[in-house]
């Protein structure tokens, strides 16, 4: 293990490390902590230029209830869920399939198809903006969650395929061969052998894609409009435009918008790290 485990250091070194950890963490998260504190300050603190002092009163409840009750934030949050969940499902499902095909089978164009996904994934997505918007318009899906979901699934498939394929590559190929000798149809091999083994990768990918999609702003702006279909990132900007300079409300809104991916990450972190180790850093 590198660096040398701290248990092997002197007790003083150990204590110093233990003390340094929280300090470093607070410094690292300072901007976030600031926002969190902002979000429970009363309006008056900002007029009185009491930005960094002790909050003159704790208005967390009223600030957050304002966000939830007097704005469209709940609606936006719901939209985000309705956009993110199908996308995660779709992208993970599609890429499990492509990853399986590319990771297990040898055929001539294998590497080229794989490279197509990889290259497509790294494309600056702005280049897709104009045509994708037109495509969505033509399909009659402009300003629908479906339109956004379909695009996200397609675009994420590139990254997910890279991830899945590498993961599947690392599985022992004998498992597939053993199954073939046993006379198991290919799709059953996928379903009963490969898929269960990919659980950590699926979890890691689900978290990553969830994060990417939840936080997407660009495509939300390009493909949707209005509260009926826009996700929370777009919602937070319009919320902020509405309450510009009302820092306490903006902060509360931002925290609300940021919370779901954080929760998701926490729930899945064990799988996330395991999957990442196997899939990405190989």
């Amino acid at each position: 293990m590198f660096p040398t485990p701290i248990e092997k250091r002197s007790p003083a070194g150990r204590a110093a490390y233990q003390a340094l950890l929280p300090v470093a963490l607070i410094l690292w998260l300072l901007p976030l902590i600031a926002v969190a504190v902002f979000s429970i300050r009363p309006d008056a603190d900002f007029s009185n230029a009491n930005y960094w002092g002790w909050p003159s009163s704790f208005e967390g409840v009223s600030n957050y209830s304002k966000v939830f009750l007097e704005s469209d934030m709940p609606r936006y949050l719901l939209n985000s869920v309705l956009i993110t969940a199908p996308t995660v499902l779709g992208a993970v499902a599609l890429s499990a399939m492509t990853g399986f095909a590319l990771g297990i089978y040898r055929f001539r164009s294998n590497l080229w198809i794989f490279f197509m996904f990889v290259a497509g994934n790294f494309v600056p997505f702005q280049i897709l903006m104009v045509p994708v918007r037109d495509l969505t318009l033509d399909m009659g899906l402009y300003n629908t969650k479906t339109g956004l979901v379909l695009f996200h699934i397609a675009f994420q498939t590139g990254f997910c395929t890279l991830f899945m394929r590498n993961f599947i590559r690392a599985l022992p190929f004998e498992l597939i061969e053993a199954a073939r000798v046993e006379g198991i149809a290919e799709w059953r091999i996928f379903w009963y052998v490969v898929l269960p083994l990919m659980k950590p990768a699926l979890a890691a990918l689900a978290v990553l894609v969830f994060t990417f999609i939840w936080n997407d702003y660009f495509w939300a702006v390009v493909l949707t409009q209005g509260v009926e279909s826009q996700p929370v990132t777009a919602g937070i900007t319009s919320f902020n435009a509405q309450y510009r300079a009302a820092y306490h409300l903006m902060s509360a809104g931002s925290i609300v918008a940021a919370l779901p991916p954080v929760a998701m990450f926490f729930a899945m972190q064990r799988h996330f790290i395991a999957g990442l180790t196997l899939g990405a850093v190989k």
Partner: protein, 352 residues
């Protein structure tokens, strides 16, 4: 009837040919072991029998069926892999029953067959465990159980024991021998290990560079190898080889400083030949000073003396009992000439 017949079987990877026309007949119920140096094509040949590698040319049949182009699943073979290849997410019972389940056999039948196999392999207590919770030997047993359950005509093993430690290896080896006796199916077994080959096989196939060097029963190969390669490959420690020349109806061996009257039909006068002597057929004698003891290794019951001749040739002599020659001593060797073998130096073929 489920013997395996290979006729002029060839395998090419792109331009590289790795199996050069193999003809082989394995009888129904026979235990056939493939041995040979690393990279000689043992695994490839086995995988071709399994259908995991396509056969480039030639014919392959199992029983009366031509299976050359059949799917692995349809050949009626089962394979045990070196790394076990157990499905880590399934319990032992599920691992064993998986193939049947996927092929739509009724649950009761599966349960019964799994129970039967686990009885044979003494796995009853572990049926609910996942492979990760098993020791190496147990995993290997599950892998074998998975093969048994499907009741195949032919079992294929690719170095099934090489991931186990020495002790377990012995144990599992005996187990496999017992299994073969019990179910009597045709088995093809790939190994690196001398001892496994000698003890398990009804028939050993010695491969070199994609070609068969010799096929035969273990002791036949030991006693009557066709060529120098097989002679050197079978037996441990390996056979000693000394250069010699045919002179006056005997073989003059410089290292020994004398002529040896090998009782075989000798080639013409003056031909260079190679004299093969197994370490276990040699004895040390005092008085003769042809060799110097370089090193001795005592293993308890036996010890090996590494000797070097005046002309630099080296041989190994097995000594029984606890005696152990001191390094540096000068010794001679004795042997019964009828136990010596003679090989043509050019073709390396056995002269008999």
């Amino acid at each position: 009837m489920s013997g395996v017949t290979l006729s002029n079987v060839i395998k090419r990877y792109g331009q590289v040919q790795v199996i050069h026309g193999i003809d082989l007949e394995i009888a129904d119920g026979e235990f056939c072991v493939f041995v040979g140096p690393s990279g000689c094509g043992k695994s490839t040949l086995l995988r071709m029998v399994a259908g995991l590698e396509e056969t480039t040319a030639g014919r392959m049949s199992i029983g009366a069926r031509d299976v050359t182009h059949e799917d692995p699943a349809e050949r009626g073979v089962a394979m045990v892999f070196q790394t076990y290849a157990l499905y880590p997410h399934m319990t032992v019972a599920e691992n064993m029953g998986f193939g049947l389940r996927m092929n739509g056999h009724p649950k009761a039948e599966i349960r019964e067959k799994v129970a039967e196999a686990s009885r044979i392999l003494k796995l009853d207590d572990y049926l609910k465990r996942k492979p990760a919770a098993l020791s190496g030997g147990q995993r290997q047993r599950v892998a074998i159980g998975r093969a048994i359950v499907r009741g195949p005509e032919v079992f294929l093993f690719d170095e099934p024991l090489s991931n186990l430690d020495a002790e377990l290896r012995v144990e599992m080896r005996v187990e496999i021998a017992r299994l073969h006796k019990e179910i009597g199916a045709t088995m093809i077994y790939v190994t690196h290990d001398q001892v496994e080959a000698m003890t398990l096989a009804d028939k050993i196939v010695v491969l070199r560079a994609g070609r068969i060097e010799q096929v035969g029963a273990p002791l036949d190969l030991y006693r009557d190898p066709d060529n120098r390669f097989v002679a050197g490959f079978i037996g441990s420690p390996a056979m000693n080889f000394l250069e010699g020349t045919v002179r006056n109806g005997a073989v003059e061996v410089p290292a020994l400083g004398r002529a040896v009257p090998v009782p075989v039909r000798l080639p013409p006068e003056g031909t260079t030949v190679i004299l093969g002597l197994r370490p276990e057929h040699l004895g040390l004698v005092e008085g003769d000073e042809s060799f110097t003891v370089e090193l001795t290794e005592a293993l308890g019951g036996v010890s090996y003396a590494y000797l070097v001749a005046g002309n630099g040739e080296r041989i190994i002599v097995e000594e029984r009992g606890d005696q152990r020659s001191r390094p540096g001593r000068r010794v001679g060797i004795t042997f019964e000439p009828e136990r010596a073998m003679l090989f043509d130096a050019q073709t390396e073929l056995r002269l008999r």
